[in-house]
Amino acid sequence: MSVRTNEAPGNVSLIGGEMLLWSDMSAVAGVTDWRDVALELIRRLMPAGGRVLLVGPHPQPLVDEVAEAAGTAAVLLRSYPDACALGERHPDLAVYCGRLEVFDAGEPYDLVLALDGLMRTHSAEAPASAWRQSLAALAGLVAPGGRLVLGVRNDLGVDRSLEARPADRECGDDQWAPHGFDPSYPGGPDDLDRGLEAAGLNLLRCYAAYPDRQAPRALMSREALREDLPDALTFTLSAREDERMLAADPLRLTRLVFRHRLGDQLAPMWLAIATRPPATEKPPAEEMVTSSATEVSAAEEPGGAAELPLGLFEEGAGLYELLPAGVRRLPDGEEQPIPGGRVVEEILVDACAREDVATVRELLSALATWLEDEDGDPSAGTDSLVHDGARFAAIARPADLPERPDPKVALCRILRRFAVRLLAAGHHHPWPWPLEADQLTLTLCAMAGRECDQKDVDQARKLDVELGRPAELAEHTPTYRDLLRGRDRLADQLAAALARIARLETKLTYRERELVKTKARLRRSRRKAGAYRRSLGYRLTRRLSRPRKVARRVMRLLSG
């Protein structure tokens, strides 16, 4: 990459420590891919006509939203090319390029957003500061009464335990000072609270971000995580939609995290919303109060946590807010209770694991009846349906379809989706023959007591495309787990193939032996027949019978 400094747009200021030949926006850098939940949260926090500062790299839609909604917006980036690109895209935005520690804001900001955390505010031009130092520098940019939104990656996040090789120890170009050697980095939610307190900030609300730190799709407040969350919700939080089967292990592990009520401690990432107390208040360091007490008092303040959502999560194309007694679809949906029961896909995968075909038959029959007789949602999937033992309920809102599809096609679509995901996830299942998703789909339909054919499956595929939710999983970089799974599958197939060959060889040997015996018998019979034909008796008989036969033919001819 070669970028000359004299090409910088007029709104880009170099403050020192800028990285000229570096970009944080490439896929390798792994900037947190915040989407709807973060946008919704920022909308709620945006001060009318206030000053907003974005610290570190953020996804483009989020920057665009801030640039449009804020009275005055500024961005601090370490990458020079990124700063130039941003400066060109938003000429009214003040873009500062350099290290956080040397940034002199002049006037503090009403809202400081550092959703990507503090790691990418350091520059290769200077030794990396400790987390607390960076936080102190960041806190200094927050005006009294202003707010800070800070993303903090959890070193003990549930997603960490799934990595064969941690992403921050891959000796990537951005790891000149690898993460993990900073003693001031928060080692848990309480440590995070203390860090914020030490920086002179009061915590308003802390969210746990799920399902992973690369692309959080849900924010759940500590208060919400203390409750027993229903399956319909935790399943959604546990893995991204396109990975709910693929990432089977993370899903299981994350479900356990919620079941053990460790959602806050083991969150892949935290998103802390803190406020700098007005100047009249006593410095927090002098107050002998616990962090939780601080949290409560801050929450009770006007404009405190009460206006912040209890939780936000993305499901399909929709964004939902968690309420004390249910959920509501944003922006203007009504409150709905969260359906109870177990996620259908989990019930099926569990049944497959113990080869319980009776349960599969029963559940699929009930599903088919639900679609046919109870106007079930044809756009649902086994991963977005819960079953409480008697009834099915869709977790997400039904998709808008121009016309209701044939229940058979709808069933095929749901089951094909399940088949694709089951096979892709490498779960154990009892069907040895239909290794192809379409064939397995037809078998599943048969188990539901519905006779479908390839035409129905083709229509189901079309319906999937119409809904914009292809069953096939997106290509992804294979993980250690995938490799192990692939190896196991190949080993099984090889064992089966070898056994089949051995069996067929045995059969072949047996058949060959039988063939040789039969040929010998045939030879013997032919020899006997030849000897018989040569015998005097046979020849006499033939000679005697021939004239009679001729006479009979002549008689027949004459008699017409």
């Binding site: 009892p430 078998t443 064992a495």
Partner: protein, 328 residues
């Protein structure tokens, strides 16, 4: 796939259930359990069941046991008998059932059993009150001494025939004959627990297991012997057995709750459906059978029975005119 899939007309029955035209039974792509078994559904030396092909077994306990013994690829479909009951709800049904049908434990083509049939016949005479029919396996039936041992005590001696093979039609009606015989008797007994006992219990016969259990010449130790059978099912041994308990165990052992749909079986067995040759919708097809059952259902009964549940042993007995089900 394997010859044993076609024994006792199993493949023929399943073919009929799947609306497959009645010709030479098709090859089943997998291994069908051919008799009640308390190991894993197959003999201990089952290396001929090669991995990659499913093992179609009757009950979940066999799957669990097989799994623990390193076997995989089980697929539960229940016993072919339950499909025969579905196909033949009326076959051999009589208003009044009499006597006992007694199945002495039998050997097979490659291994015979040793035991004193004369002594067993005496014991049967002492225990049974009504007329007794002794059903011998064709090997024992071919032995005039064994036949005579029972005939001389005044018993009727029959044989359901050869178990057959895929290529000859001999075993095709084995289970049908057995069904007819079981439905004419009030009681079924044997000196060992076996398929016939459970088949009998499933059509409403009282059950009894008594007498010298006899021994295979090379009985495999993996089964655990008679003692294990007695430990596992103590309640089924004796001259008089609780019918409710027998019904419950029968339901489990024959896998009534695992009955598959015809289309599922066709797909699992690798049977492509010959649509043109199959009977068009009407009597005889699986769909027609189901509709027929629905029509025959008692209209006064507001709760329709479960699809598979209605074949489960239930209160109505055969003696009351019900074709299937065992007494509670």
């Amino acid at each position: 796939m394997d010859e044993s899939n076609h024994w006792y007309g199993h493949s023929h029955i399943l073919g009929r259930y799947c609306d497959i035209p009645d010709e030479t039974p098709r090859r089943i792509q997998g291994y069908l359990q051919h008799g009640w078994n308390y190991l894993h559904g197959f003999p201990p030396n089952d290396q001929w069941c090669c991995p990659g092909y499913p093992r179609f077994i009757w009950s979940d306990v066999l799957r669990r046991r097989g799994w623990s013994m390193g076997r995989r690829g089980h697929y539960l479909i229940g016993a072919p008998w339950i499909y025969l009951l579905e196909l033949e709800p009326e076959l051999g049904v009589r208003p009044e059932r009499k006597g006992t049908i007694w199945y002495p434990f039998h050997g097979w083509e490659k291994s015979s059993v040793s035991g004193d049939h004369g002594r067993l016949a005496d014991e049967i005479r002492d225990v049974e009150n009504g007329p007794v029919t002794v059903c011998l396996y064709w090997l024992e039936f071919a032995n005039p001494d064994i036949r005579q041992a029972y005939k001389s005590r005044g018993f009727r001696v029959i044989c359901h025939g050869d178990r057959g093979s895929r290529w000859d039609g001999k075993g095709r009606d084995f289970l049908r004959k057995q069904l007819v015989e079981l439905r004419r008797h009030r009681r079924v007994a044997s000196n060992r627990l076996g398929s016939a006992l459970f088949y009998g219990a499933s059509v409403g016969c009282d059950v009894a297991v008594y007498g010298d259990p006899m021994q295979f010449e090379d009985e495999r130790p993996e089964y655990g012997g008679t003692e294990r059978r007695k430990r596992l099912w103590p309640e089924l041994h004796g001259t008089s057995v609780d019918p409710g308990l027998a019904a419950e165990i029968t339901r489990r052992e024959l896998g009534f709750e695992y009955q598959a749909t015809p289309e599922e079986l066709r797909r699992m067995f690798g049977w492509r459906r010959a649509r043109a040759a199959a009977t068009p919708s009407g009597s005889g097809t699986a769909l027609a059978r189901r509709q027929d059952r629905a029509a025959r259902r008692d209209p006064a009964d507001p709760q329709p029975r479960e699809r598979r549940g209605d074949r489960a042993p239930r209160a109505a007995s055969v003696r009351q005119g019900q074709p299937r089900g065992v007494r509670p």
